[in-house]
Symmetry: C2
DNA sequence: CTGAAAGCGCTTACAG
DNA sequence: CTGAAAGCGCTTACAG
């Protein structure tokens, strides 16, 4: 079963490959008789013709692949959903998503030089050097920033805002002695530190003492130890802002182990609104992220980077939202 | 910044492109002077040469991309981990993973014909028609079966075994009146139905009455309704085998809402051992899947399909394992 | 309005 | 041991 090429379509429809190309690519500026066009289209359909991506890429120097570079830490359900949306949205524009796990040992440079993607989308910050090299090669790079960033080709998901939102909610509920439950995995520090910074700044804004910080792993022991520390001293903690929902669930388990009531003794708020957050005991208050909106923004950014005629999307300001449940 | 080509390397090292190709591809059967080889290697490194994947693909008719086709339902953390492992493992063999979400509107046929992957890996069963077409085009297809399957190019994760394992564990704990908590999402039925079949068969084997089945969504209401139904009648259910951990957590929430104690009144067992399973109240007993082993198997299958000299891996028989915690 | 020809970068028979 | 040449399938100036 040799591949069906444009030459086959040309032969089948009795025209040249040039004409086939013009018809199939809807080249404007060139006028093709309706009859000819139809003949080509029919032949292509009859033969089941699909243009070779490799040949196209070789010719144009640019493939239809969007290289999505993942962070090197465990991706959670959030990034999962994000990629899923991206894949389907970009597919509608004839673009395929190639996922590169940051953990892979192959260098990023080798990969992008090999596949010549039409755009690169980083879900974690790139090394400046990589960004420059790709830009120099003419490949649009859409990056992610964890802080506020005005560049349209940088998608900013300001992590500090998340921490601030958590504190605002806890203060509203009357809490003044706060703690921050950091993740135990160091690779998350880029996120965790910024969320903590947001928590700290918000505490200061509200005139509260600095939050007490402890690392909490996804196990009861580690959470229990943190809870004990938080409850000790003159002013025991009455509310915990957790790095994310999983950490929050660990905190809940730790509080349970210590016989403390939630939210009466200690309130807990997470981040992400994972599907099981509402199933916790008690149901977990959390920060919901508009993943769909983020994915759409990212897809639009890529599309805008690809075509100067497409206006870059404006940063969605309202991506975070408190979901209040019984844990606060 | 035009691309560095093999011609540049040839010029730089004073040899022909043929020689460059021979050196860089470690072509055996051809002997190259050590001096020449070194000169070529140095020039390539100095210039930062990376062969064009497009040109290679066009030439050989086969790319270095492994197309991984996802199911059209929400992928959970399990598949997430799986893809991650695959990406890194295959990267070590110079292969890149291209993820195609089953949900995308573009047809699978168009995608594989366009990118000419060196292999296709289906994480959900393919339509026979698709499989045939790819095989006919000479593309090795590694599939996934949800039942026992002897074909080496089919990875079987016999779902019925999972259900059986759940029942065995519950029976060991002395339960005789069992229920099965099915997921509310219809797209999961390929998995859910087989796990249920395993539960049913095991009940029969143990001489128990047929399990009572109810669909449970990821919310307390739906779980509460299921629990009520299960507890009604002459012989109230005392143990629940859930489709997966998330559903199990919902069941736990339903039992809590009904004021039932776990495991004294009703025991619950899930599947997957998600990170938060051990944080539940009470910690959830579940079936652990050896994802790493599965990923390794899949990667090895792909590699074997690519190279006849590589022996296909033998099916890992021991991929499931009960993790007993306090919920049973 | 349509066709012949060149060239993207690579590898591999085929000659030397 | 090394080089000149062809060809993978496509698109696009350039001619007609």
């Amino acid at each position: 079963m040799p591949r069906v090429t444009s030459a086959d379509v040309a032969r089948e429809s009795g025209v040249s490959r040039t004409t086939v190309s013009y018809v199939l690519n809807a080249k404007d500026g060139v006028v093709i008789t309706d009859a000819t066009r139809q003949r080509v289209l029919d032949a292509a359909a009859r033969l089941g013709y699909t243009p070779s991506a490799a040949a196209r890429t070789l010719r144009s120097g640019r493939s239809d692949l969007v290289l999505v570079v993942l962070p090197d830490w465990t991706v959670g359900p959030v990034i999962d959903t994000l990629i899923d949306h991206l894949t389907t949205t970009l597919a509608d524009h004839g673009l395929s998503v190639l996922v590169h796990s940051g953990r892979g040992k192959g260098s990023l440079a080798d990969l992008w030089r090999a596949v010549t993607p039409c755009a690169v989308l980083g879900l974690a910050p790139f090394a400046d050097e990589d960004t420059y090299a790709m830009r120099r090669a003419g490949i649009p790079v859409v990056g992610t920033a964890l802080d506020e960033d005005p560049h349209p080709e940088i998608f900013s998901v300001p992590q500090t805002n998340i921490g601030a939102l958590q504190v605002d909610h806890l203060v509203e509920r009357g809490h003044r002695a706060l703690a921050y439950a950091a993740p135990a995995d160091d690779r998350l520090s880029a996120f965790a530190d910024r969320r903590l910074a947001g928590v700290q700044a918000a505490c200061q804004d509200h005139g509260l003492p600095a939050p007490r910080v402890a690392a909490v792993g996804l196990d009861v022991e580690s959470a229990t130890a943190a809870v004990r520390a938080w409850r000790s001293g003159d002013e025991p903690v009455t509310a915990v802002a957790a790095y994310n929902d999983e950490v929050a669930l660990a905190v809940l388990a730790g509080l349970r182990a210590e016989g403390l009531r939630v939210p009466d003794d200690v309130a807990v708020i997470g981040v992400d609104d994972i599907p099981t957050a509402k199933l916790a005991a008690p149901p977990l208050t959390t920060i919901w992220q508009a993943i769909d909106a983020q994915a759409s923004y990212l897809a639009a950014s890529v599309l805008a980077a690809l075509d100067p005629a497409v206006r870059p999307p404006s940063q969605t300001s309202d991506v975070f939202h408190v979901v209040a449940r019984e844990s606060t």
